[in-house]
Chain length 221, copies 2
Amino acid sequence: MARIHNDETGTREQILSCAARLFRTEGYAAVTLRGIAKAIGMTTGSLYYHFSSKEDIVREILDQGHKRVFSEVRGAIEALGENAPCEAILKAGIQKHIECLLGEDSFPSANTRIFAHVPVEVRAPTLGERHKYELYWTDILKSCQKRGAIHPDINPHTLSLLLFGAMNWTLEWYKPGRHGIESIADNLVLLVLRGPKVGARQDGERTPSKVRSVRSVAAKA
Amino acid sequence: MARIHNDETGTREQILSCAARLFRTEGYAAVTLRGIAKAIGMTTGSLYYHFSSKEDIVREILDQGHKRVFSEVRGAIEALGENAPCEAILKAGIQKHIECLLGEDSFPSANTRIFAHVPVEVRAPTLGERHKYELYWTDILKSCQKRGAIHPDINPHTLSLLLFGAMNWTLEWYKPGRHGIESIADNLVLLVLRGPKVGARQDGERTPSKVRSVRSVAAKA
DNA sequence: CGACATACCTAACAACCGTTATTTTCAAAC
DNA sequence: GTTTGAAAATAACGGTTGTTAGGTATGTCG
C-alpha cells in the first residue's frame, strides 16, 4: 500500500529512547555511539542512516525532553480550571514536573542531566524554549503571590529558579523504594506556600485551609 | 636546610586547582589530561609525577571540595553561638554554602558539578562524608522545626534534600552581574522559615521578628 | 668532582572516539 | 524473475584518550 517509508519499525524512536536512557544514567560525554548501537543490537555505522551525527541525536532528545515536561505540567495545571486555589495549582505543577523527571520516560531526565555538558551549538537553540518554561512558572508564582499565598518579600523569578533547583535535584537523590513522589511534592508545596495567613485576606483566595499533614496525605497513596 | 621535599613550588596544588576549574566549567569526561597540562604550561606525562591517574586527581578534588564547604558552613554557624535564633542559623548556613559554590575557589563547584558523572569507584568512598553533611543539615533543620521556625508537617530529611537542590542548582543559573548571593540566600531563608507565627510560641525562640524585606537587605550590599 | 634524587620533557603505546564509504540483505513492485 | 530501494552490516579513516617508558636538565650533598 502507499505507506510512506517513514518509520514503520520505529527504529528511530528506539534509538532515541535508548540513547536517552544512557544519557540519563551515564552523562553526555560518557555515552558513545557504539554503546547506543550495541544496546539496541545494531552496528555503529547503521545509526547514521537515521541520524547525521551524535549531536543530531542529543539535539532531538533535549527538544523532546523539554517539550514533554512543559506540556505535561501545563496540562495538569490547566485541568484545574481558571480560578483554582494556589495550593492546588502549585501542587499539581510541582508534582507533575517531578513525576516527569523521575518517571520511566528518560527524555526529561536526560534533558536536565546532560544539558550543561552538551556542546554550545546544540544547547543554544534550545534556550528560547527553556526561557518560556521559566517565564511560565514565574507568572504562576507571581499570581500566587498577588493572591497572598506566597510571602510578599520573595522575588518570584528567584523563587522559580530555586524551585527548579529543588525539583531537578531530586534526580540526584531520589530512590524509588525510599521516597514517594507525592510526598516530596507535598513537602515542596509547604515550602513555597506562606504558612497560614498573616495579613489581611487578599481576594477570592480561600484561606490555605490549614494545609493538612503531609504524612497523612502521602499515606493514602 | 632540612626542608622536606614536599611541595615548595606548589605544583601539585596548581594542578589540582586548575583541574578543578576545568571540571567546574566543562564537566568530567570533557576534561583531558592534555587540557590540564596545557593550561598550566606543562606536558601530559609530567602530571604522572604528581598523580598516578586521572581518577587520582578527581578523587582529591572531590574530597577537598566537600571538606571546604562543610567546614566553612559549620564554622559560620558555630560562630553564632549556642542559642542563636533559627533565622540567623539558616541564613548563615545557606549563604555560606552558596558562597562556597559560587566563589572563586573551584573545588566546591567542581565537586557538585561532576559528582554524578564520575566513575563509581571514586564516588563510592566519598559517600560517607557526604552523608555526614546531609545529617548535619538535617539535624539543624530538625532543631529549627522543634523550635517552631519550620512548618511542623515538613519532613526534615526531605527538606534537607530539597534545600540542597535549591542551593546546588544555583550553579546552573547564577550570573555574577545579575544576581546577588545574599539576596538569593535571603529568598531561600524566607522559603524554609515558616511565615510569621501561627500557633502557640514553642520555647525560647523569639518570634521571627517579621523578617524584613529581602530587597532592602540586598540593597545595602 | 661525582652521586643522586627531584622535577620535567619527549615520544610512543594500545584503546577508543565520531564519522564515512562501500557492501550486503531482503522484502515489495513490476 | 528481475529490478529497486530502504535498512543494516562491514571495515576502515584520522584523531584523541589515558598511560607508560626512557631521557634530560637542575640542583643538593658527601
